[in-house]
Amino acid sequence: MTTVVLRWLHRNLFAKPFDTALSLVVIPTLAWAGYAFAHWILVEAHWEVIGGSLKVLMTGIYPADQLWRAWFSVATLCAMFGAGLGLSVRPGRAAMAVVAIVAAVIAGTIAAAVGVSAGLLTTVAIALGVAAWIAVHHSYLDQRIVLSGLLAGVVAIFLVLSPPGFEVWGGLLLSVVLTIAVSILTLPFGILLALGRQSRIASLRVISTAYIETMRSVPLILVVYWIWIIVPLLAPDSSVPSLLRGMAGYALFFAAYVAEYVRSGLQAVPKGQIEAARSLAMSSWTLNVDIVLPQALRVVVPSLVGQILDIFNGATLVFIIGLTDFLRAGQMILADPQNSGRTYEIYVFLFAVYFAIGGAITYASRRLEAHLARGSR
């Protein structure tokens, strides 16, 4: 045993003089930083500030007596996530154990921070997600049924959350719902743009290319801000909520990126497929919808999932149009003089949540890539 450890150490840390020097610098620094961080987290940090402001962080200024709507959305989101997982990942014992541990930690933390009932509700939501995961994986449902179910879930969340008004949406819930809605909205528009860029009709090609290239060279924040500005100018009588204007801006911007991903997928479809379909005298519409797109989209699914991460990260920019997303909610809490000394607690929490969600999306995209690669060989 000791020889194995020693050999590992020698091979990985002290193989050459340069490696040894690096290790001798890195190990003490890391040990010191790790100790300082752990000491801060366990002893010095005042985590009660998170518990006290969890409601604001998660839902912003959403009215407290309407919170059941938010809880419904959380449960629906968990179920949708589980159902989506069921399409590609097998609910094995190891995965279940990991989910159980993570769920217990999350639910326990929430129960300790804001109350037992919130912890219980979280447990129920996560259990619902796991149930949907197992159900979808074992029911051999058509993918289209699951996808329509996911779409119905998004619509349901919108309908349930909207009665108190779009302007009270906030916190992490706003970031997540915005991300999902924009991801779905960009898809049809992006596909049309990609087809336009590949079209045989020159004018369509030029216009699509111009749109894509323009959107890709200006900052997201400019597009979002400008759509927000011009909608009231174009429709002075109707007051479109900031959230919907912002969503339109995000969708117009990210559609250009989706178009580029889809275009790379279109180029991956073998030429013979198109020639064969043409020789069967298929119309362009049938050719695209039945032959090309299904194959192209299959190739780009991992990139599209990766794009969701970009949208989620970009959702922090809604501060420019006066919305309070997760990051803004954290900054609002810090603006309260009572919490001014809690900068690091709030930021560490924000980072941890962003990292957990971002990491999950990256992991999902990597898993999908491996899954699809296995299927195509």
Binding site: N12, L13, A15, K16, F18, D19, L22, S23, V26, I27, L30, R200, I201, A202, S203, L204, I207, T214, R216, S217, V218, P219, L220, I221, L222, Y225, W226, I229, I230, L233, L234, P236, E275, R278, S279, L309, F312, N313, G314, A315, T316, L317, F319, I320, L327, Q331, L334, T343, Y344, Y347, L350, F351, Y354, F355, G358, G359, I361, T362
Partner: protein, 397 residues
């Protein structure tokens, strides 16, 4: 393409003409619809602005700005010489936008240089034989790529830069780098008035031979050029160097002398450099892994060390592969400087917002800002394409 031609020859001429005509009709219809949409949008916005008493015109650019910016230089004239001077409220709106552009470019260019260097180091680190270094670099890349840039910027500003010691207790590193919450001060260069022509000429020789030493190949030639550089530098130092080092000196409210970075600029630059380095690291790692394994094995069999292989065989080839991806990264980085608005850095987008608020001219402003960003993107890709053509044009494959 071939199928199209084959199709054409099988249909009778009359139908073929009809087909061509219908294609033209479709083309025309699309152009008309899109043009109508764009024109309608422009007219509707213009009309809405006109209702508020604002007419489309770029004349407002010449008006006095009447607001101040925390930093930014504008081109101006001193006698007959063009000079750069700090922006003040008596300058015009156009000069305000130029000051914003100056600030954006300042951050973008420094970040491009720094993130290329650090990104390459981290990318190599991800393939290090040292387990610790490899995983540290991996952790850094993952942490950066999975969290929003905005929270990174806000974190660097509010939780790091604004927590630096106050100016009166600035930490002083090696007597030349001052760090305080009112900014970071680096040593700067000053031109000494007394320096004669000979010392300027010697300095020019030193710079020229240093450049030649980097550009030209051949170990003997390089050694000679290096010797020239060093002796020229020593000679200038002996007869009085024309350029002096200006070390910052701490004062009660900041520092005097040297090269100053505002707290906002420091935070934005730190955030963008760390963020982009992670992406550059992934690009570099991908390129190194894409090279055939035989390259490593061949050079190992020739008895070259790992670092020697990396420096002389792998990196020159990697440089060719990564250029297009780096161009994309540089363009996104330049766009990312617009997030400086979150911490009050007066970049182009921020200044555009202020000017629009003051004058109500959003339509003209957004046209200018969009064209500027488009031009920046084109310039960056043109530069990288030019370099790409040089390194990949001759001799490569």
């Amino acid at each position: 393409m071939t199928t199209e031609i084959a199709e054409y020859h099988t249909i009778p001429p009359a139908r073929r003409r009809l087909l061509i005509a219908s294609r033209w009709l479709v083309q025309a219809a699309i152009v008309i619809v899109v043009a109508a949409l764009v024109i309608w949008l422009g007219l509707a916005v213009r009309e809405a602005l006109a209702r508020k008493g604002i007419h489309f015109s770029f004349g407002y650019l010449g008006n006095i700005a009447n607001f101040s910016l925390s930093e930014g230089l504008v081109p101006s004239r001193e006698g007959s010489w063009p000079v750069l001077e700090p922006f003040s409220p008596s300058h015009s709106n156009l000069q305000a936008l130029l000051a914003g552009l100056w600030n954006s470019l300042k951050v973008a260019l420094s970040a491009i240089v720094l993130c290329t260097i650090f990104g390459t180091l981290v990318g190599i680190g991800r393939l290090s034989t040292n387990w610790l270094v490899r995983n540290l670099c991996f952790g850094l890349v993952e942490a950066v790529r999975n969290t929003p840039l905005l929270i990174q910027i806000v974190f660097w500003y509010f939780a790091v830069v604004l927590r630096f010691p106050p100016a009166s207790a600035a930490s002083n590193w090696f007597g030349s780098l001052l760090v305080s919450r009112s900014g970071v001060y680096l040593p700067g260069l000053v031109i000494s008035e007394s320096a004669g022509f000979a010392s300027w000429a010697l300095l020019a020789i030193a710079v020229a031979s240093a450049v030649a030493c980097i550009v030209l190949r051949g170990p003997r030639r390089r050694l000679i050029l290096l010797a020239v550089t060093i002796s020229a530098l020593i000679a200038t130092a002996l007869i009085g160097s024309p350029l002096g080092l200006d070390l910052p000196v701490a004062t009660r409210f900041g520092a005097r002398g040297g090269f100053a970075l505002s707290p906002e600029m420091t935070a934005l630059l730190l955030a963008i450099v760390v963020n982009s380095s992670a992406y550059v690291a992934e690009i570099v790692r991908g390129a190194i892994e894409a090279l055939p394994k035989g390259q490593w094995e061949a050079s190992a069999s020739l008895g070259l060390s790992r670092s020697h292989t990396l420096r002389d065989i792998i990196l020159p080839q990697v440089f060719r592969i990564v250029l297009p991806s780096l161009a994309n990264r540089y363009i996104s980085l330049t766009k990312d400087t617009s997030l400086g608005i979150a911490i009050g850095f007066p970049d182009l987008f921020n200044v555009y917002g202020t000017v629009s608020n003051q004058t109500g001219r959003n339509l003209e402003g957004v046209v200018i800002v969009m064209l500027t960003y488009l031009a920046l993107s084109w310039i960056i890709s043109a530069c990288v394409n030019a370099v790409n053509a040089r390194v990949n044009g001759r001799g490569a494959r």
